[in-house]
Amino acid sequence: MTFFQLTRFKSRGLEPIDLTIDAGECITLGGPSGCGKSLLLRAIADLDPHEGEARIDESCQSQTAPPVWRRQAGLLSAESHWWADRVGDHLPRSDPDLLAALGFSEATTQWEVSRLSSGERQRLALVRLLLGNPKLLLLDEPTANLDQTSIDRVEHLIKEYLQDSCSAALWVSHDPQQRRRIGDRGFQIESGRLVAEKWS
């Protein structure tokens, strides 16, 4: 069953894309730096002007109010940004299980953002995103600053989330082994076009 669909979707620097993703699927996206992967994710989250249509479940991007759409198409950018002093100020609620799954505790919500390490920021940004229950995860190198233990935790957590909530993910990763490990299907961007990645 098609869960997420792009129709003649034209993001900056790329040819128009037609793509369908089923519920529960994790699609990986690779390609050299600056080839337009992040811009594609931003366009799907409707943060940059673009052409074409995107659809999640029953709702079309152009027919959905932007805040509602962005809650469904949750983007985790490569670098996380924070606007308040404490971690807890950024979270809609506290979820001890989710925090524990990434190696944090409830006390973490009292931490000051300015004292977080880059790895902690990255994992907490994922917590912040998942608490909004997005239907589609747009992940831009979510494990770039993490050690192996944390990478395993993040991969496991996202896989579990996709199964439990019947959502889908578009996962940008520079690591070919990671792409093979987590992806149900994979794409590469080559000279502006989306081509299937061979994993033989």
């Binding site: 409707d46 943060l47 809650r71 949750g74 950018s77 670098e79 996380s80 940004h81 909004g132």
Partner: protein, 263 residues
């Protein structure tokens, strides 16, 4: 009390003093004597011209002429607000935001003051309209320019956190809310400080002028109070209008942050 008219001789005494200062600057090799003399000559010429223009204007009550001058002053003020921005809005909005906000605040406050407070007939009597409008435009301008500059600068610097909030499904209004509040505060602080210091630390220029011109000090104080309060309201309303328009313009119909609209 009679107005003591200044003769050209009186003015030349002041001018001679400036000339003396220039000589001292030359002897002490400060290197500013040239600039000092040029600036002094400019102020003499510009103010004399203004006096002549106002003299002609005051002798008649042509609505079109007075309205034209008022619009010219408004346009200049709008341009000044734009010129003080480090990151201006591109195109029409660059001048549009400042001019429109100034029109909403300074113009309406001046009209209100003329109708309700001073009660002159007709309301566009130039002796009242032009100086009042000038005081309001000149003083609200800087507060608005500071507030707008603060908004665009911080939006530019904090692009990441604004977009982080958009990504989480916050509306554009929530995403820029903190920045908008901070920008407004920065624009209002100078006038708040000016009101607090008025009469204790500083003797405002208008009151000084009236007293020197022969008005009883209490009358001069009353006018000064009115002007100061109106400036505060004008600055507040103008800054709110400018910052709201600016914040609105920073997002498009799909609530995307559009910093490409700044240049």
């Amino acid at each position: 009390m009679e107005l003591i008219s200044l003769t050209p001789l009186d003015l030349s005494v002041a001018a001679l003093l400036v000339l003396g200062l220039a000589v001292i600057s030359w002897r002490m090799r400060l290197g500013v004597e040239r600039r000092l003399l040029v600036a002094a000559s400019r102020s003499v010429i510009q103010l004399t011209l203004l006096g002549l223009v106002l003299k002609t204007l005051f002798e008649q009550t042509s609505f079109l002429l007075i309205g034209g001058l008022a619009l010219f002053m408004l346009g200049m003020a709008g341009y000044e607000v734009m010129a003080r921005q480090e990151r201006k809005f591109a195109g029409f909005w660059g001048m549009g935001i400042g001019t429109l906000s100034m029109f909403i605040s300074s113009f309406s406050i001046t009209l209100l003051a003329l109708h309700l407070v001073v009660k002159v007939e007709p309301w566009y009597t130039p002796q009242y309209l032009i100086p009042l409008l000038g005081m309001l435009l000149g003083n609200t301008m800087s507060g608005m320019a500071i507030a707008l500059d603060n908004l665009t600068q911080s939006a530019w610097q904090q692009r990441g956190s604004i977009e982080a909030r958009l990504m989480l499904g916050h509306t554009w209004d929530q995403a820029i809310g903190d920045l908008r509040r901070r920008a407004l505060r920065s624009g209002l602080i100078p006038i708040i400080n000016a009101m607090a210091a008025a009469g204790v630390v500083s003797l405002p220029g208008m009151m000084t002028g009236q007293i020197l011109g022969g008005s009883p000090p209490l009358e001069a104080a009353k006018y000064q109070i009115m002007i100061l309060l109106l400036i505060a309201v004008g600055t507040g309303l103008g800054a709110i209008a400018a910052v709201s328009l600016g914040a609105f313009r920073l997002f498009d119909h799909r609530q995307r942050l559009r910093l490409d609209r700044l240049k």
